[in-house]
Every structure is written in structure tokens, then in C-alpha cells.
Symmetry: C2
Subunit: 331 residues, 2 copies
């Protein structure tokens, strides 16, 4: 029921996913039974893998994150997390209130051993590949140790799911010299430098695309602002370009001839293709989808959930965090 | 002498500015006399408005900001600020170490009455206009009251220089609902809500271009990261598009036909056109240019300095800050 266009787009995305991914054995749709049924009817979908689980409440965007879990016990996000907790489901996908999804999973499933706070790992495209931006908005008042844990978790995800051999880690800062940064990033820098992680140092905007690392660290406030601003500027550039192209019939002809190029880039910069961002560090799998998710975005978020299940990311994170502590203890 | 391509580009930009802006009556070039002379010779420039002021030192990007002012008393940035302090110059333009320019102006010129910390006001283009992002990197460990002062200063600049009648102010946050944000932004929100300023509430990425306010507030760390990331993503999109267009001769033909549209957008998103960002809140005028400034960017930064002199921004800021305090005192 979460998201700007729910349950319409969430149900439509689930239907797409079931049609495209035969390996899905079960898909729970959690929310208002009547409304979910009505949406399914519009798609004439009677897939036997679907089970509707009723939830009478919805977390609103103006609700507080932790309060929403305590007060709305029958919200769709809480009920969905309950299914993971009981073992009936292996992952949850939510396009709703991010804070509520983070709070519900953290409170009900707990964090993995050695992880204090979960972080959202957003997958950002570069020309030739992708990198992980963590944290993209789960933990907005982070402490330096949380970012160290994000470094370990982001690397683990990058290795296991994105198949990078030895992912390099960069710390988002305001200058790529070692001495640059806020008091907060300087502390994180020190922790990373002392660790056995593949830390390349501070990175800033131009490094992200020209000389990319595989994992970019920042606190959840900075990450969320950066992510949304990137999306907005990419959209704005395409809108401006469209308006400029429409200014003359000649330009329109040129644009038609070259349209394959626009389509490729538009696809590359479109969040719908990425679908959703894993919330790393909780003892379970939770994929955070865009609030404005289209059916296609929801479908892809479900694919990201399936990948996380398949690749066994969580045991790998636990192992890597243990390794870090062992290295610190023996040094 | 500051900047990635100094003194080459800084001198070349100064020469361009003198040729284009006849209203400039005097232009000091502060730095290594011999190197500056050599650069001027390459442009065959013997403009009598130029005066070279020798400075034997250069602040390096790895130098600490405050230390650079204390230890390198004969650096080009320090000497340039001295010229403003003595009244010989009305403004300084620097493409060098931002922290050093901020520290030198703050220490030597002091802040305006009622201003605790200066902030960099970056001018960001939207489709139909521009907005002010403040602070873009002067004050990386900001307190809530600093952002309130940035709101007043950003509005004053927006009114006086950008000619907005009643600029709306937005607070960069992680959700546009009032309740969203970090502990820091929640405190700023409260201060703004209680003020008599034209505060529209929290804004996030998509608001910047789709439903823009005229002044966007954030701390210097967030502002700097956002600004550099925006630049990087705009560059990346154009690079990707160029590569895609080059993949086939047909697409190349289309791109040639439509090239006017690309040029317009490229110009809009190019920092060279903006040139430089005023450092608001110091008792003097200081324009921060991009570290990688081209001659054209330097020329435009000099234009921004001239506009700030002409529009008398500083007395207006002092007046607006006084008004705020009067309103608080009488409420």
C-alpha cells in the first residue's frame, strides 16, 4: 500500500514480475484485500503464486518512522515484515515511507551481528558500469562507526551481487585531498585508513563518473539528497533538451534520426531500470523502491529482492564484519 | 595563482574581462610577477588598467584553510584580500583553495554585523530561471543559526542581483513534509518557521527544478557535495550521449541537424557561464570561482564581482539582518 501510486503500481509491478520471473514461487500482496483484488482484476491476473495478506492500515508520509511501527501494528509494511520474520517470505519490497520500512525491519528483524544501523545501498550507473552509494537515506544522524560498517556491507554487496573482485571504497567529501572534509568525515577517514579495507580516500562529484570507485560512502542525509538531486538533474536535462528540440521542425528531424542514442542514455539514467535499493544490515532482505515507482520499477525491485536471496548477501556481510573485528583484535 | 590552471587561465580570463567590460577601471593581478608578466605577454596585453601585485607564495590544495592564512602571509589570496582591506580594490576573485579564500576574507575583512559565518551562494540554472544554493561549501560544520543567516543573505542577493521580488526559501531535506529531516535541519526548520522570512518549507531534489524556490538552504558540506555531483552528472550525461551518437554515422547526422538544441542545454548547465559564486557575509566582496576555471569562467567570475559591487549587496544584507532582529525583539 506504500508509494505515491499504490496499490495500482505496486500490484501492476507484481503482476509483471510474476509473468517475467518464473523462478518466483510465492508472492504475497500485503494490504487492503478489496483494493488489491480490484487491481488484480484489472490485469485479469489469477496467478496461483499470489497470496493476499490483509492489512487494515497504511503508513502516511507524514507519520514518524518509529511511531508508525508502534502505533500502526496492522500497516501493510509491518505485516509484510512479519511474513519475513515468521519465515513465510524471504524478502520484502516497499515503495512506501522509507523511514517506516527501515524502522519496521530494524525493530522486528533486528540487525545482523556486528551491525549497529542498517544502510540503503543505491546502485548508480556510470558509463561502463555501476557503483554502490551507501547510505542513501536509512540513517540520517549517523556516527562514524556506522559508515565503517557501510563500507564493509557495500563491499560485500558489490562482490556478491555486482561481481566486483576487489571493490574500491571512496568517502564522499568536499575535496579529494586526505585533509579535506567535515569533522565527521575526518573521523570516518581515520577509521577506514586504519582498517584492512580497500579504501581509496576521499571522493567528490567528478570522481563518481570519471574515475569511479565501486562503493561510495556517505551519511544517509547526504546520500539521500545526492541521489534525489542526481535524479532531478538528469530529468531536468532531458526535459530541457526535449523543449529545445521541439523549437524547430529541423531539430525534430535530427532528434528522430538520433533517437536511439537518447533512448539508451535515458534508460541508463532511469531509476525504473534499477528498481530498488537493498537495505543492508538487517537480518532479512528488504528492498526500498522509489516512492513514485512505476509498474516497471516495482517489477525490477522484485528482481533485486530475488537476486539478494539467491546471492546470499547477508551471511557474506556477517563474515566480512567478523573478519574486520578479527583483524582489529589481532593488530 | 589559485586554481588548477593558474596563472594561465586566471590571467587569460582577466584579459578577456578587460576587453569585454569597459566599466572596469582597475584590475590587480596578484601573484608571481614574472609568471604573470609572461602570461600577459602571450596575450600581447598591455592594458593600462592592469597592476601586478607581487606575491611570493601560493596556497596549495593540501594546506589547511586557517593555517594557510597564518603561515603564508605572502600568498596571492592573502595579498589580494589585503588590497580589499586597504580599499584599493573593491572585490577579490579566486579560483584557488576555497577554504583559504574563506579564511583570508573572514579573518582580514571580518563578517558583516549580525553574520557569524560567511556562506557561498551558488547560482544554479533551472529551465526558465536560476536559484541560489547557499551554502555551497564555506562552512562545513554549520550550526542552525548560520543557516538562518544564509536564508537572509540568499534572499537579499536574490532580490538585489537576481531581481526576484519576494524570493521563496526552501530548506534542503530528505522529504518535503515538514516532519522530515535530520536533527540539524529540524532545528533550522523551526528557526525559519518562527521568522518573518518567506519560508516555503523543506525541499528535495525534484523540487529544485520542477517547482523551484529562489533560495535553497543547506550546510556547506551538503551544498558542496550536491553542487559538484550536479556538475558531474550533467557532464556524464553529455559524455554518454556523445559516445552513443558517435556509434553510428546516421545518428551523427541527426545530432548535427539538432546541434543547436545541444548547444543551448550545454551552455545552460555549464559552470563557465555562471563564472563564480559570491561569498556572502564577509565585509567586502569575494567571488569564488571553480578550481578548474577556463578563461571564460574567470571572465564571468569577474563580471559577477562587478555586479555585486554595482548592486550594493552588502548594505542590503546588513539592513535585512537588522530587520530580522528587530522583528524577533518586538515579537
Amino acid at each position: 500500500m506504500g508509494g505515491d501510486y499504490a496499490p495500482k503500481n505496486t500490484v501492476a509491478g507484481a503482476v509483471l514480475a510474476l509473468r517475467e520471473y518464473p523462478y518466483i514461487t510465492k508472492l504475497f500482496l500485503v494490504g487492503d484485500t478489496e483494493r488489491v483484488k480490484a487491481e488484480l482484476a484489472t490485469h485479469r491476473c489469477k496467478d496461483p503464486r499470489i497470496e493476499i495478506v490483509h492489512a487494515s492500515q497504511v503508513v502516511e508520509m507524514t507519520d514518524g518512522a518509529v511511531e508508525s511501527v508502534r502505533r500502526k501494528k496492522d500497516s501493510s509494511v509491518s505485516r509484510a515484515v512479519d511474513l519475513v520474520k515468521s519465515g513465510e517470505a524471504e524478502a520484502i519490497v516497499s515503495a512506501g515511507h522509507t523511514g517506516a520500512a527501515v524502522a519496521a525491519t530494524t525493530i522486528k528483524l533486528r540487525t545482523l551481528p556486528g551491525v549497529d544501523r542498517p544502510g540503503i545501498a543505491s546502485i548508480i550507473p556510470t558509463e561502463s558500469n555501476v557503483f554502490v552509494l551507501i547510505d542513501a537515506g536509512a540513517n540520517i544522524d549517523a556516527r562514524p562507526m556506522h559508515l565503517l560498517q557501510y563500507a564493509i556491507m557495500g563491499s560485500a554487496y558489490s562482490k556478491k551481487v555486482l561481481k566486483y573482485e576487489n571493490p574500491a571504497i571512496g568517502l564522499m567529501s568536499i575535496g579529494d585531498e586526505d585533509v579535506k572534509g567535515s569533522d565527521f568525515t575526518k573521523e570516518v577517514f581515520k577509521l577506514l585508513k586504519e582498517s584492512n579495507l580497500n579504501f581509496r580516500g576521499n571522493v567528490e562529484g567528478h570522481d563518481l563518473f570519471k574515475n569511479p570507485v565501486e562503493v561510495v560512502l556517505c551519511d544517509g542525509f547526504v546520500g539521500n539528497v545526492v541521489l534525489k538531486t542526481c535524479e532531478a538533474i538528469a530529468d531536468a536535462i532531458f526535459d530541457w533538451l526535449k523543449h529545445e528540440l521541439k523549437k524547430s521542425p529541423i531539430r525534430m528531424v535530427g532528434a528522430m534520426i538520433a533517437k536511439g542514442a537518447f533512448k539508451t542514455i535515458k534508460k541508463k539514467t532511469n531509476y525504473e531500470e534499477v528498481g530498488g535499493s537493498p537495505l543492508l544490515g538487517v537480518n532479512g532482505i528488504c528492498i526500498i523502491a522509489h516512492g513514485a515507482s512505476t509498474p516497471k520499477a516495482v517489477k525490477n525491485a522484485i528482481r533485486v529482492a530475488a537476486e539478494a536471496i539467491q546471492q546470499q548477501v547477508n551471511p557474506h556481510i556477517v563474515e566480512e564484519i567478523q573478519k574486520y573485528h578479527d583483524a582489529i583484535a589481532s593488530s
